[in-house]
Structure formats: C-alpha cells, structure tokens
Symmetry: C2
Subunit: 190 residues, 2 copies
DNA sequence: TAGTATACGGAGGGTACCTCCGGTTTGCAA
DNA sequence: TTGCAAACCGGAGGTACCCTCCGTATACTA
C-alpha cells in the first residue's frame, strides 16, 4: 500500500531524471526563498515544463513535503543517536534545538509542513511519525529520569517548537529565538 | 504626526461612510475566513468598488491591521483592569489566555499581524505597544511577587503565545491548544 | 525496427492582486 | 441657489501565479 510498492513498475528513465531535477531545484528554491516558492520558477530551474512538475507533484504541498522528507528522516536518525546519550534531558534538548536549527536554516517550510495534517500512509506522514516516535523515546527517557514533568506530550512540545520556528521564519532575531526556546524548555522541565 | 491629526480636514461624508462599511465587511470576513480574505469579496460585501477599498486601505496589511485595531485596544484595556487583581500570576495568565481566545475565535489573523513589524507611529503600532506595555505591567507584578522567573520578557512570551495561536489557526484542537498553553505558562513560572 | 505505453511541455483558462483614470459627487463660496 | 474645484467612486485591465489539458515526443518491449 505504500508508495514504494506503487513503483513496482519502474519509471521511465526520463521521468526519473526529471523527478530528481525538480526535487533538487525545489530544495534550493525553498532554502533561499522560503515556502512561498513560485512553482514555475522551480520548473524552469529544473529545465522542465510546468506540466511535468505537476505530474510528479500534483500539489504544491506534495512538492514541499518531498522537499522536507530528507529532513524528517535525518531528525529521526539524530533522535536515535541521541537516545544513547548519558544525560536524557540534554539529549532531548539537543534534539529539539535541532528542529529549530533546521527550521531556521533555510528549510523554513519544514515546520509548516510538519504541523500540517497528512494522508495516512504517505511517505512524509510515515517519516514524520517515525521522527516523532524517536523523539518520544527521548522525552520518555527524560521523564523517567525525573527531569521532565509527567503529562508532557511530545506532540505538544513539537508543535510549540514548530510554531516558534514558523513565527520566526523570515529574518529571525536569533537572540529572541534563543530566549523563546529556553521558555519552552523551562516549560517541560520538572 | 499621528494619523488622527492627518484627519484634521474632515473626510467627505461618503468617504467616511465607505471607510466604515469596508471595515465592517472586513471584520466579518476575517472572522469567518481567516487572514486570507479575498479583498474583492470584502469590497462587494461592503457595497463598494475595489478601487475604493484600495484607496482607504492601500495594502492588504493595512486593512488587516485596521481590523485588528479594536482587538489590540481591548487587550490593553483588559490588561489594565487585570492589573487590579489580587493574584498577580492569575491576572497575567488570564490576560495571556485572552490573547489565545481572541486569536482562535475568528480573529486568527491577529497574531500574525501583531507579530509583524509595523511602521513606527502607525495606529496599530501604537495600539500594540500600549497593549504590550500594559501586559508588561502584569508580568513585572507577577515577577515581583516571585511567581514568574526573573529574566522572562513580555515580548518573548507574547510572541510564543502568538505563534501558538498561529499554528492552531484553522480547525484548532482545543484540548491540544490548552496543553500547549499550559506548557508556556509552566515555562514562565518561577 | 516498429508499436505502444508513458512522459513531456506549454498554451490557456481561472483567480486574485493592485493600479489607473474618466466620470461622478460633495461641500463650500458667492 | 448655483457654480466650481476638490475629493471620491468604480471597474476595466495589466500582472502574477495557479493548475489542467492534450497534441507531440520519447523510451522501453518484442
């Protein structure tokens, strides 16, 4: 049922090539222009017609999600590494800070995408879920260590962090972002 | 230098009437459709041409700010009332919750507008400043009572609250909003 | 190499934004 | 009251972006 299965019949070579070109163009466009990319520009940068772009990514959202997929996967991987850290609380904080860094450093759309609702089973949904679960491990560990208040849920924390990123999207005041981040961290602390 | 002074020469009667009609239409449009109102619809609802709308409100932002002006003023007034409360902490929390309620209950654009940069001296900027200062009184009082951590700044708290509202703009899960709000409150608590 | 499923691309229709300017209305002065 | 200049109105139209549709081109298969 997953999209990976749907590619059982391999794509034509040109289609595969264009898919990758579009994604690459979209990535750099999102990095430098944020979430309100002009899709026609992406197509042009990719050396592809607008129709081709829309065939591969039926909606604007689909393209942005694809752009964000790598990031979601890396966040999961990082969480799993951090789960081996000695200090449970520091590990959690590091992971959360990573979300802020990712969000601010170009991929400002990440937060918006992450906080949106996705079709169950979509690649991005799966990746986000996995990332969230990995984060949840960090959270629970910190709670077991008595360093994070009981009752705090990973979804709420993440959503708050993403909100923080979103509102500081363009031209962020890094000092303020830092203080707001600290505010959130204080909020979860036991 | 304020806009109020600029109206020294009174507007023509029809201009005044249209100004108010447009504002009224914009308000109800924003309440039911959020920040991405279609300005042409607003003009039609106001019984006015699109050109007239743009003369009174040169930019989309200007219209939204005008829409939000009352809210900003009321938030200030509420803060000043709450400053008389017995419990400083409760007063602050009530005021912050008010921001969430206002933000969620239709005026979902409020947060976005509030968190944007405005021209110094503009009506909205003045109103926001006043509101923020009134809120700051509540915060300082709670800090003096030892109920809020020292070092917490009103700007950071408000921005975080507005971020919260923004990210829960359309179809908010009220229970989650509540939990996120609690998270913020815990974050400022001494 | 020929046939076919697949993919390409851009013209074009739709929506919303904002500007511009000819025509109209209003308020004031005589 | 009447005339006039300033102020105002309204919508046509240019721009930008979105997304769809379908005739043409291309890559795979036999």
């Amino acid at each position: 049922m997953s999209e990976a299965d749907a590619v059982a019949r391999p794509r034509r070579a040109d289609a595969q090539r264009n898919f990758e070109r579009i994604l690459a163009a979209a990535r750099s466009a999102v990095v430098e222009r944020g979430g309100d990319v002009v899709l026609e520009d992406v197509a042009r940068d990719a050396g592809v017609g607008i129709g081709t772009l829309y065939r591969h990514f039926p909606t604007r959202q689909a393209l942005l999600e694809a752009t964000f997929l790598d990031e979601a996967r890396e966040l999961r991987a990082r969480a799993e590494v951090l789960a081996g850290d000695i200090c449970a609380f520091d590990a959690l904080v590091s992971w959360l800070r990573l979300q802020v860094d990712f969000g601010l450093h170009g991929h400002s759309m990440g937060a918006a995408v992450l906080s949106a609702k996705h079709d169950t089973g979509s690649e991005i949904q799966v990746a986000c879920s996995a990332s969230r679960m990995a984060g949840n491990v960090l959270l629970r560990r910190a709670q077991d260590a008595g360093e994070v208040r009981a009752g705090v849920e990973i979804d709420d924390v993440l959503r708050l962090i993403h909100a923080l990123v979103l509102v500081n999207g363009t031209s962020p005041d890094l000092a303020q972002v830092e203080r707001m981040f600290d505010l959130v961290i204080s909020g979860i602390r036991a």
